[in-house]
Symmetry: C2
DNA sequence: TTGAAAGCGCTACCAG
DNA sequence: CTGGTAGCGCTTTCAA
């Protein structure tokens, strides 16, 4: 019984006599033998893991996403090597190099850095699919930030709002920039003044959203509706609104968050399905692993407006508009 | 310039002349050479990854935990191979075998199955540290569920509550069983009847907690205080309480959740710090990797009562008690 | 300071 | 149906 025969049994190859097969299998379980998949990958040249690199796993959006990727990867017998960038370009680069060193089969990345040209040399053997944010020249799985935002703002306007604030205008996130752009577009289209005071620059984080909201409501002409640029901002706006007993102010948040439906009124959110995004990214990655020469593609995942009450509030009577 | 010299440069070994070193480094960057860490691990026998296996990454507790582990692992130059059990014993076993096949250096596991004896053979080379739930014969990093719960229930009683409900009594989770045990203990100690109607068995999930709460409040003698067995239950109780406008009912939830502080009243939670748990687990794992023969240890992480209002509510006047 | 050779555990290729 | 041999990319040991 040679080493090669064992290999054949382990890989379920056909040309092994039933008797030998049984004998090998018995030894395997007696010895608790476990095949070393790294050595297999080293020899065969086909890695058995994919790398996933996101901002931070503490973000519910990304944690759901990673969960979906893992489930899908398991079906293909792939392991998931997880890493995070912490929003830091240098760290992103380090992590990318580490993943390269692990010879992962491909990488799913939420990009932070602007320039990913240094990935070029590896892309033929190790494809990269961007998620959440697109990058020129790479495949990406994203949602239409601008369009979804336009829809939300149009909704406000159709209900009579004209003082509409945008909270969380954070220039560091390309997604947020696009959402802000959508917001601007719609106001202009409806001949509503784009008042900078209504969309002050600020970090798209819970705390700053909270203070920005408080500030907005103390303005001489406060907003009657607020659009939150991302879930963290949304939660901050909620905290402020509830703290000030101003739940009469309309609110739509980009990105769902837990308990959004439990609040009164329920918080209307633009939902992006992390599960679909994750699965689409991994499937695209699999395609690229099979045919690396495919031209980069942008895969759009539909968003859904989760109407729960806060987004459907009308402006108070007598408010200008 | 031999392959060995390159190896020396890559590993920052001393015995290389500066000139050679420079020359090698230049070639490395010109060729975009990246060391294959799998091959290195194969040869050296020292794996460069740890495995993390939790229920589901979608749970904020675990996602924070995994994030903390990853940060800490990065400091040691370790990669994190992530996997989830989905609460399923068979899947747990499969995943564990997969991680073994990857020859990870050690595993951090939130155990689901009762019997982990099949890990025995590997433990000498691949230590295992349990998190969240303890397992006989294994190292574990946990919180004192019973004690923390006792403290919360004592708090209710000291404020005059006698009708105290326990929502989310789910026999599948050993942690929840211990919390329920702590609850029982305190009631008995204070000669309060342990009414089964006040702690009905149910899944420790948001939806069932919501319906159980609704049911409890419709009882002839409804509870004046509720203890939620875990964050998901806590959110369910919140949804019910807010839906029924019964925010006068006191509530303490085991495990913090987002927006808990934004609600009115803020939800008092027993906070368990996922960051500390994760770091402690990885550090213990590192110890075990160095000295595998150490006797199993139980590491207790302190909890913190986050008083935000809901846990400090008094029973209504005239309520019996 | 540098290099040659062996071998980690596996599979591809070719023989028997 | 079964087995030997070579070699994946690296490090270790010993020698120059």
């Amino acid at each position: 019984m040679s080493i090669k025969t064992v290999s054949r049994v382990v890989n379920n190859e056909v040309s092994v006599s039933p008797a030998t097969r049984t004998r090998v299998k018995r030894s395997i379980s007696e010895l608790d033998y476990v095949l070393d998949t790294r050595a297999r990958a080293l020899k065969s040249g086909v890695p058995d893991a994919v790398g996933v690199l996101v901002d931070t796993i503490a973000d519910p959006f990304f944690s759901s996403l990673v969960g979906a990727i893992e489930d899908r990867a398991l079906e293909d017998g792939l392991s998931v090597i997880f890493a995070s960038t912490g929003f830091d370009s240098d760290r992103e680069r380090d992590q990318l190099l580490r993943l390269t060193g692990q010879r992962v089969r491909g990488i799913i990345l939420a990009p932070v850095a602007q320039d990913h040209s240094y990935l070029g040399r590896y892309r033929s053997t190790m494809p990269v699919v961007m998620i959440d944010r697109r990058t020129e020249g790479f495949d990406s799985v994203v949602v239409d930030d601008e369009k979804a935002t336009r829809g939300a703002i149009e909704g406000f306007i159709s209900r009579g709002h004209t003082r509409i604030a945008f909270v969380g205008r954070d220039e560091r996130f390309s997604t947020v920039i696009q959402r802000a752009h959508g917001y601007d577009q719609v106001l202009i289209k409806h001949n509503i003044e784009v008042d900078p005071a209504m969309s002050p620059p600020s970090a798209a984080e819970t705390d700053s959203a909270k203070s920005v909201t408080t500030m907005l409501l103390s303005l001489p002409q406060p907003p009657t509706a607020i659009f939150a640029a991302n879930p963290r901002s949304g939660m901050g706006v909620v905290e402020a609104l509830h703290g000030l007993n101003r739940t009469d102010v309309a609110l739509i948040s980009f990105g769902d968050f837990s308990l959004a439906g439990a609040l009164k009124p329920g918080v209307t959110c633009i939902g992006q399905d992390p599960h679909r995004i994750g699965v689409a990214a991994l499937e695209r990655l699999t395609q690229l692993m099979d045919s690396p020469e495919t031209a980069p593609e942008e895969i759009l995942i539909e968003t859904e407006l989760l109407q729960r009450g806060s987004g459907e509030l009308l402006p108070p009577r007598g408010s200008k508009g």
